[in-house]
């Protein structure tokens, strides 16, 4: 069985992808790119904030961080292909996955033992 990619590794890859996308769209003149960049700033802030939480070191962090990574990769693919019209929906999915991660990282009511 392949080793499970840790939550922290997923998160770092997600952050790197978001940063790369943010840089790539910085010079794009279309409206979709501008709003995506603003959204990505929020996503990056949220991801950085959870990066030092205990949750990220647990197995429980793997699925939600993997979801963020998947959505970030999807956004990056659209930007690479300059499919601007599809960008808002993809960014929204990334924001939703990030919100889910932030919520889970609070570990409200989670029993660790």
């Amino acid at each position: 069985m392949a080793a499970v990619t840790k939550g922290l590794e997923n998160l770092q890859e997600t952050i790197a992808t978001c940063q790369q996308v943010s840089g790539a769209i910085a010079t794009a003149s279309v409206a979709e790119a501008a709003s995506a960049r603003q959204a990505l700033d929020g996503v990056l802030a949220a991801l950085n904030e959870v990066s030092d939480k205990f949750f990220i070191k647990t197995m429980m962090s793997v699925p939600p961080t993997k979801a963020c990574k998947t959505e970030a990769v999807a956004v990056a693919a659209l930007v690479a292909d300059q499919k601007w019209s599809n960008l808002p929906a993809a960014v929204e999915k990334l924001e939703k996955a990030t919100r889910a991660l932030v919520t889970k990282a609070k570990m409200d009511g989670t029993t660790i033992t």
Binding site: M1, V4, F54, M59, M60, V62, A105, M107, G109, T110
Partner: protein, 472 residues
């Protein structure tokens, strides 16, 4: 050492004798656990009664049926569980009162069970019996709940599932945590241990406390500890770690706030200690007086000790019985590995749907690096049991043994006089047809969706509606 026998029936049911209750009783007898019970014996049936709002714990009908069978054998059964450590700021089973109220809400009462439900370690959890565990891998003594230690026979009736710290929750954990008193649980969770206790293993980050003004719920930091070991000032937090007992009431508060970090080693050492605690429980009762039944159904990723139940990670797998707690857990674990994962479950989230994967250490363990075999391996090393087993497929018993037990006469004999006196069928109405109904309907019509009635609905509805208005 010869392989231990594990008796097994799968989870399929299509007749009274293959109901899971019947299968549980069938493997109980096939494994010879019934032979352990002599007339007058006090028989402890150790179950997990489930946390508040957990829904995956075993249904009370299983211990009920087992208790009925034990009474037939002349034994005096009682069903029991033990008080917990606090484990969280919102513990629901940490005193006898809370345990019994939670258990009753979950269906475990004497009325349901046909025998008493007992909190086996007393009101606070200090009613226990100390035993030496000289072959223990980590622990050298254990504190066993008094009512369990006092029993002539112990039957662990276990829901096999995952566990965040133990990785698996099977017979070994039912013994190694479930049969320990609260004092014993402090021991198994390594309170006071120079290396593995929370006090000595946790990495403490008081610098992550940013002051009361920046933490709206700062009071929980003080109030989560039953020993009052945390003190919060305006800008700092203090922990009297020398007095920490590893009750674990705080870690779900401290860790998410960045105040605690836990090395994997702390969890791994506890997994080993669980098997030593299990050996203590078996020693207290007598190894030859213990039997184990595992029901591998509703196999949730987290234990029945959490206040929720996620969907099962694999389909129901079956019913197991053995006199060896190590072998029975190994057999269940192998079945889980052989199984497909459940689509839509957390096993799916982790891409563990293919057979042959080690599911629990991924989906259940809190931290990376734990093994779903640690309890089993330690239980082999300390002499608790044998991980080598022979799985014996067991045939169903005759159907007659599993019919409605309170009156086994045929329906004609039982109900003839009653139905003559209180005839449920109104023969005298509607020319002997009994009830007002359409003579014929279009059954094909209702098999398909035809919209919201805008095509006219079913013909002939008017007469029935008028009859209803007349109260007919």
């Amino acid at each position: 050492m010869a392989a231990s026998e594990v008796y097994y029936m799968n989870a399929r049911s299509e007749s009274p004798q293959t109901s899971l209750v019947a299968k549980m009783l069938t493997v109980f007898e096939a494994a010879g656990i019934d032979q352990l019970i002599k007339p007058g014996d006090l028989v402890a049936i150790k179950i997990h009664c489930g946390e508040w709002n957990n829904t995956a714990y075993l249904r009370p009908v299983y211990p009920r049926a087992l208790a009925d069978r034990i009474k037939e054998l002349g034994g005096r059964p009682f069903v029991c569980d033990t008080t917990t450590l606090t484990y969280s700021p919102y513990a629901s089973r940490a005193t006898e009162l809370d345990l019994k109220m939670t258990a009753e809400r979950n269906g475990f009462s004497s009325a349901v069970l046909g025998c008493p439900f007992i909190c086996a370690d007393g009101f606070i959890g200090t009613g226990d019996y100390r035993v030496d565990v000289p072959t223990g891998y980590l622990l050298k003594e254990a504190y066993i709940a008094q009512a369990i230690a006092a029993a002539d026979v112990l039957i662990c009736l276990t829901h096999f599932k995952g566990h965040p710290m133990g990785v698996i929750g099977g017979a070994i954990k039912n013994l190694g945590i479930g049969c320990q008193s609260k004092r014993g649980k402090h021991n198994v969770h390594l309170g006071g241990h120079p290396k593995y206790s929370v006090a000595n293993a946790a990495i403490w980050h008081p610098e992550n406390f940013k002051g009361k003004a920046n933490m709206e719920d700062w009071k929980i930091l003080e109030d989560c500890c039953p020993y009052s070991l945390f003190k919060v000032d305006e800008d700092t937090i203090h922990w009297d770690r020398a007095r920490c007992t590893s009750c674990l009431g705080c870690i779900g508060v401290m860790a998410p706030r960045g105040l605690f970090e836990f090395p994997e080693e702390n969890f791994a050492a506890t997994d080993a200690a669980i098997a030593d605690g299990a050996l203590g429980a078996v020693t207290a009762v007598g190894k030859e007086k213990c039997g184990f039944i595992n029901l591998a159904i509703d196999i949730s990723p987290r234990c029945d000790c959490v206040s929720f139940s996620d969907m099962p990670i694999v389909p129901n797998l079956g019913v197991f019985a053995s006199k060896d707690p190590v072998a029975i857990d190994m057999a269940c674990l192998d079945k889980v590995r052989e199984s497909h994962g459940m689509p839509g479950s957390i096993a799916d989230d982790f891409d563990l749907l293919e057979p042959g994967t080690r599911k629990f250490e991924t989906v259940s363990a809190t931290v990376h690096g734990l093994s779903e075999e640690a309890q089993i391996n330690t239980g082999t090393l300390n002499g608790l049991g044998n991980r080598e087993y022979t799985l014996i497929e067991t045939e169903p018993q005759p159907m007659q043994r599993h019919l409605f037990a309170l009156d086994q006469r045929l329906s004609g004999e039982r109900f003839r006089a009653k139905f003559l006196k209180f005839t449920p069928f109104p023969y005298e109405r509607h020319d002997g047809q009994g009830f007002l109904r359409e003579q014929e309907i279009d059954t094909e019509f209702v098999k398909a969706w035809h919209g919201n009635g805008d095509n006219g609905g079913v013909a002939g509805g008017t007469e029935a509606a008028e009859g209803a208005k007349a109260g007919d």
